[in-house]
Symmetry: C2
Subunit: 469 residues, 2 copies
């Protein structure tokens, strides 16, 4: 097997023994890998050859890109770990068409930089952007902090290229906004976490770079008032809100505890802290008015001032320069460090509810946690603008039964509110039991039938997404 893999990608690109180290541990620490070998193909054709070989020999293949997932989707025990990191070319950026054609191993922040050099943005962004890769983002349909304005990853993808479990290459690299020619395999591959095919390339949508941003931290007395703020801002700006992120007091405090340089958002501490950002894409929103204020910032400041006067806000700070804006973003994007950095046992729950139900959800969970683990402490952060809560809980002890009980309680409350037990992190292995318990049974059976049809030997990323029947 190793010989054959070396023949495909060259000796230097098949790592065995200690050379696999970089791919054996991942970020969360929960899902260490022990792959047969790590193989690093340099082209789609090499990926195809590897998968073909795996199919013939019945060897599992687990695609790995940035390895920043939180659900164990890349654990590769006894499998070939197929790393896409060498396929990191941005093949083309077409500014007029606002598209980027990229390989799966491109690091998200590298694409950000390449797009910005053309006055454009690739809107997808989240904390792990410096190491997460496009292939993983597509395979998990990653969300992040700009979904409110630009949609999830799948909304930013025009076309994909992938290697199917047979080792055949499927070319769906359309650049078109309208293309109805049979079943939508693109959307089937996106979010399938590498179990139906290995995405090797993509045509991505770029957006005009907002010519100005206005960013603020706002303290509000309740989450309901936060939604009033969101709706008022959307109305004032014509839907220009890009991020609307909720951080409770203990999150802010934990962030400050990570590093003495981390500052509090306000002079006083508040329970409900919102980071809001609006982006101006229309010319009339960036030409400074008579007083020198950029209109998009004026809209934000006026809305905040009005609401403060009405007693709907407790405090607000508008970023006055890029460094202040950056500090606001860094606080939000440190979520994983905040939650895991404390070294406490954690129950991690990435859920979504209708956005007017977030406060109900939090209240009910608070009560349920009390009975499950009186010392438990929720340490959450939320993309409040789309109802997505990263509901982590610090537990009093490392106890699988307790973790499971907390997760079940979260699922109960989420589903009672019409929500989803899996919002943006995917299923991987971490949510297999939730899938088994909570997913519509007919849907689950249809998914299994599709997996069986496309991957009858079950070689692609086995044991992920679909719980055993």
């Amino acid at each position: 097997m190793i010989d054959k893999l070396q023949a495909i990608v060259g000796d230097a690109n098949v790592m065995t023994g200690a050379d696999r180290a970089r791919w054996m541990k991942e970020w969360t620490g929960y899902f260490p890998s022990d792959p047969i070998a790590v193989v690093r193909p340099g082209s789609t054709e090499e990926v195809a050859a590897i998968v073909k070989l795996a199919n013939e020999t019945g060897t599992p293949v687990v695609p790995v890109s940035g390895n920043t997932g939180l659900a164990g989707g890349t654990q590769a025990n006894g499998a070939i770990a197929l790393s896409l990191d060498r396929m990191n070319r941005i093949r083309e950026i077409r500014p007029a068409a606002r598209t980027a054609i990229v390989e799966a191993g491109v690091i998200l922040s590298d694409l950000h930089a390449a797009a910005e050099a053309q006055g454009l943005i690739f809107p997808l962004t989240f904390g792990a952007k410096g190491s997460a890769m496009i292939g993983g983002a597509l395979s998990t349909n990653a969300g992040g902090s700009n979904v409110l304005r630009y949609g999830n990853t799948r909304d930013l993808v025009l076309g994909v290229e992938a290697v199917l479990p047979t080792g055949e290459i499927v070319n769906l690299m359309s650049e078109l906004h309208k293309d109805n020619s049979g079943y939508n395999l693109k959307h089937l591959l996106i979010g399938a976490e590498g179990t139906l095919g290995i995405i090797t390339g993509a045509v991505l949508k770029l957006a005009p770079k907002p010519q100005a941003y206005a960013t603020a931290m706002v303290a509000v007395p309740s989450l309901d008032q936060a939604l009033v703020l969101l709706n008022r801002l959307q109305e004032a700006t014509g839907g220009a809100v890009e991020a609307f992120e909720y951080m409770p007091r203990n999150y802010v405090e934990a962030h400050m505890g990570l590093n003495p340089a981390n500052r509090a958002p306000f002079d006083a501490m508040h329970d409900i802290n919102i980071m809001v950002e609006v982006g101006a894409t229309a010319a009339r929103d960036v030409e400074p008015g008579p007083d020198g204020t950029v209109p998009i910032a004026a809209h934000l400041e006026q809305t905040l001032a009005d609401m403060f006067e009405e007693g709907l806000l407790l405090d607000a700070v508008v970023a006055q320069n890029q460094a202040q804006r950056q500090a606001m973003w860094e606080r939000r994007e440190a979520a994983a460090e905040v939650v895991l950095g404390a070294g406490k046992p954690v129950s991690n729950n990435d859920i979504a509810v209708p956005l007017d139900k977030v406060s109900v959800f939090l209240d009910r969970m608070g009560a349920r946690l009390q009975s499950l683990d009186p010392e438990a402490e929720p340490i959450l952060v939320a993309h409040l603008g789309d109802g997505n809560v990263h509901y982590a809980v610090w537990l009093s002890k490392e106890d699988p039964a307790l973790k499971d009980a907390v997760t079940e309680a979260v699922e109960d409350e989420v589903l009672r509110l019409g929500g989803s037990f899996s919002a943006e992190h995917g299923i991987g292995q971490g949510k297999l039991s939730s899938m088994a318990r909570r997913k519509d049974k007919v849907a689950l059976a249809a998914m299994r039938a599709i997996k069986q049809a496309l991957d009858p030997k079950g070689i692609l990323n086995p044991g992920k997404v679909l719980p055993p029947a």
Copy 2:
């Protein structure tokens, strides 16, 4: 069989013999139907019972909603025609969440009216909106004239409910903007034209009703200049262009010929006529300025005036009232009557190319048509803003070989330009040969495997979408 169907839906809702008449012919006249019976279920459970019966007996079932398709997707010879017209309830409109929960038989314009009553819109719109139904719109992933701003049908769908070929009901009626829990069956069902499941209900996204529109007819010297107009308007309004529709001179003339009340857009006739509409959703775009002009209209008028001065426009007329706006839309939405109303043999081609390639495509096709049929005349209309051209051709004679040759020539040129042979009308039966010739072979095989996995007996809408292997 008839008895059993009557037992499910009641005698009055099983039509046989002459009672089937309403469902036997459809709009284009190319695909008359001769179903065993027309069955009109009143609920998802009844749909499920019908499909279960069909599955057990191996009887084909063809779902029919508004029957306004152009590709023969609802022809039901020797099959049960399952009409969704009785399932026409708008179950709920939730203004705060901006969602509508509807049954598949809701007529598109009825949903438009219900949304508008709440100050919202359901953005999907096209000529057949007065009889087309939601089920068909989703099953074909319909496009239309607002795709530029709001996306295709699939971009407007949060959740679906469907009956699978086994007769089981799959409930994916999520209202969430983030829900990553396994393979995306929603997107697989949307656009599958009823071959993988019968969509019975949906959760749809509504959008804020633009508080003002500004609509104009513009004559430009070239399609390249039309794109300059589009980009300038997008920049001036921050992406508020809702429609950007191209009608050549012979289209305008044919429309005038349909009815003496149909007027020319300008005093003089021009070769390239564009209908453009911008919609204002931000408060600052609708409050009249000192001179009484609504800002969104001022942006449009200013952009047109600037370009006229630069010699980039030949003529422009801005609608001064709702009646003038309506007349502009009616001209555009009369496309099907314009093309088919002349009673000439027609080759119909719904294609898309990158939008900066539309003029190249038209030039090349003009030359090729000359050699295929010197008397042929293209009679096209285009959603120019997304590169989607309805490239109809009036032919000199009714001749299947000629039609096929024209279609092949269109496909050649479209694919050379990186386009799609099927943009928004779907495959049905009309484009089966194009699918066989042009679709990526690996993709086609994967689609067949999925169809086989979900519908092993092939009972759901057989003979559509997938050409014989």
